[in-house]
C-alpha cells in the first residue's frame, strides 16, 4: 500500500524537456539548407548534332507500312515553317505528299499547332518514325527553336518525334 502511494506520487512529477537547444539547432539548420538548396527549376531537352555513321540499308521486300520509318525535316525560316519528309523505304511521290508550308501567322507567330497536327498525321501513318531534323535559318532566335522542338515532341499528350537533331548551314 505504502509502495503504491509512493509510485503514484513520483508519477505525478511534471517532467519538462528543454526544447530550447533543439529549437536553436533547427534555426541554424533551416537557413543553411535554404541557402544550399537549388531552386532553379530548369529541365532539359536532349538533342544532338548530325554525326557521320554507317547505317545499314533495310531493303526487306514487302515491308508493312506501319514498319516504315520516316524522318521529318522541319525548316524554320523567317516567313514560316517548311515541312518535308525523307525515307529510304518510301517512293518519292509518297514523300512529296507530306510536303507542307506553314506561313507565319499574325503577330509574327509560327503556326506551331498546325506543325504538330501535320507531324501527327505522319506519325499516324508511319508510327515507327521518331526522328526529326530541325534546320533553322541563321537569324532565327533560340526561343523559336525551343518552341518548334516542343511542338515536334508531342501533340495533345501524344508523343510524336522524340529524337530531334539540330542541323543548319552557316554563312560566315
Amino acid at each position: 500500500m505504502a509502495l503504491g502511494q509512493r509510485r503514484r506520487k513520483s508519477g505525478d512529477l511534471d517532467v519538462e524537456i528543454d526544447m530550447v537547444p533543439v529549437m536553436n539547432m533547427f534555426l541554424v539548420l533551416i537557413p543553411f539548407l535554404l541557402m544550399s538548396a537549388n531552386f532553379l527549376p530548369f529541365n532539359v531537352i536532349n538533342t544532338s548534332v548530325p554525326v557521320k555513321s554507317e547505317t545499314p540499308v533495310d531493303d526487306t521486300p514487302d515491308k508493312k507500312v506501319s514498319d516504315i520509318k520516316v524522318t521529318a525535316v522541319v525548316k524554320l525560316e523567317k516567313d514560316g515553317i517548311y515541312l518535308s519528309a525523307t525515307s529510304g523505304e518510301l517512293a518519292e511521290d509518297k514523300l512529296k505528299e507530306m510536303d507542307k508550308f506553314l506561313p507565319i501567322a499574325a503577330g509574327n507567330q509560327y503556326a506551331y499547332s498546325d506543325l504538330s497536327a501535320s507531324l501527327d498525321l505522319i506519325k499516324t501513318l508511319y508510327p515507327k518514325s521518331d526522328t526529326l531534323i530541325l534546320t533553322p535559318s541563321g537569324d532565327i532566335l533560340y526561343d523559336s527553336i525551343v518552341d518548334t522542338m516542343d511542338a515536334s515532341r508531342s501533340f495533345n499528350e501524344k508523343p510524336l518525334f522524340k529524337h530531334v537533331v539540330i542541323s543548319g548551314e552557316v554563312d560566315s
Binding site: 533547427f26 539548407l33 516542343d150
Partner: protein, 180 residues
C-alpha cells in the same frame, strides 16, 4: 484604500508558458522537406552570367556534365569565358579552321579529362583486367549541358554546336525553364 482592495482581489499571477510544440512540428516538417528536396537535385547549378532561358514543356531532369553558357556577349565553359560574341560573330573563331579556336581547345581539354576519369573508373571496376578495362566509352557519355539565352540567333548557336560536336561532344542537353 479602495485601490488596495482591488489589488488583493485580483487573481493570482500565473507565469506565462510558451507553447513550442506546434512550432517544433513546423520546423521538423520544413527541415525534412528541405533535406529531401536537396537530395533529389543532382548537383547545384550556379549561374553567374545573366542567361534568360526559354520556357518549354520538357520535363526531363538533367545529368551533370560539362556546362556551357551562351549569352548574347560571350561563351563560357564551366563559368570560364572562352570567347566573345560581338554582333552575332564569335571573336577568334574561323569557320574554315575551327580547331584553332579557344573554344575547341578548351573542349578538347575537358574531353581528355573526362576520358581519363571514365577509364580510371573502368580500370578500378575491372580489377586490373586489361581486356575488360578497354571497353569503348559510349558517345552518350559525352554531352554538354547548354544554357543558352533565348535571344541568341541560330547562326551563333550553330557555330558553337558544330565546334562542340567536333571536339567530341555530339549530344546536348538544352536547359529550359519549366512551363508552369
Amino acid at each position: 484604500m479602495e485601490l488596495g482592495n482591488a489589488l488583493k482581489s485580483r487573481p493570482e499571477f500565473i507565469e506565462p508558458k510558451l507553447e513550442i510544440t506546434s512550432m517544433m512540428d513546423m520546423f521538423t516538417i520544413i527541415v525534412f522537406f528541405l533535406l529531401f528536396s536537396y537530395g533529389e537535385t543532382p548537383q547545384e547549378v550556379t549561374m553567374k552570367e545573366k542567361v534568360d532561358l526559354p520556357i518549354s514543356t520538357a520535363d526531363k531532369n538533367y545529368k551533370m556534365t560539362v556546362k556551357m553558357f551562351l549569352t548574347g556577349e560571350k561563351i563560357l565553359i564551366e563559368e570560364e569565358p572562352v570567347a566573345q560574341v560581338i554582333d552575332g560573330k564569335i571573336i577568334g573563331f574561323d569557320v574554315e579552321n575551327p580547331e584553332q579556336s579557344n573554344l575547341y581547345k578548351m573542349l578538347k581539354e575537358h574531353k581528355a579529362k573526362q576520358v581519363a576519369e571514365v577509364k580510371a573508373k573502368q580500370a578500378a571496376s575491372s580489377g586490373g583486367d586489361p581486356a575488360e578495362a578497354e571497353v569503348p566509352i559510349p558517345s552518350e557519355e559525352f554531352s554538354v549541358l547548354l544554357f543558352c539565352d533565348r535571344q541568341v540567333p541560330f547562326s551563333v548557336l550553330q557555330k558553337m554546336m558544330k565546334v562542340t560536336g567536333m571536339a567530341g561532344y555530339p549530344n546536348f542537353q538544352l536547359a529550359v525553364m519549366e512551363k508552369t
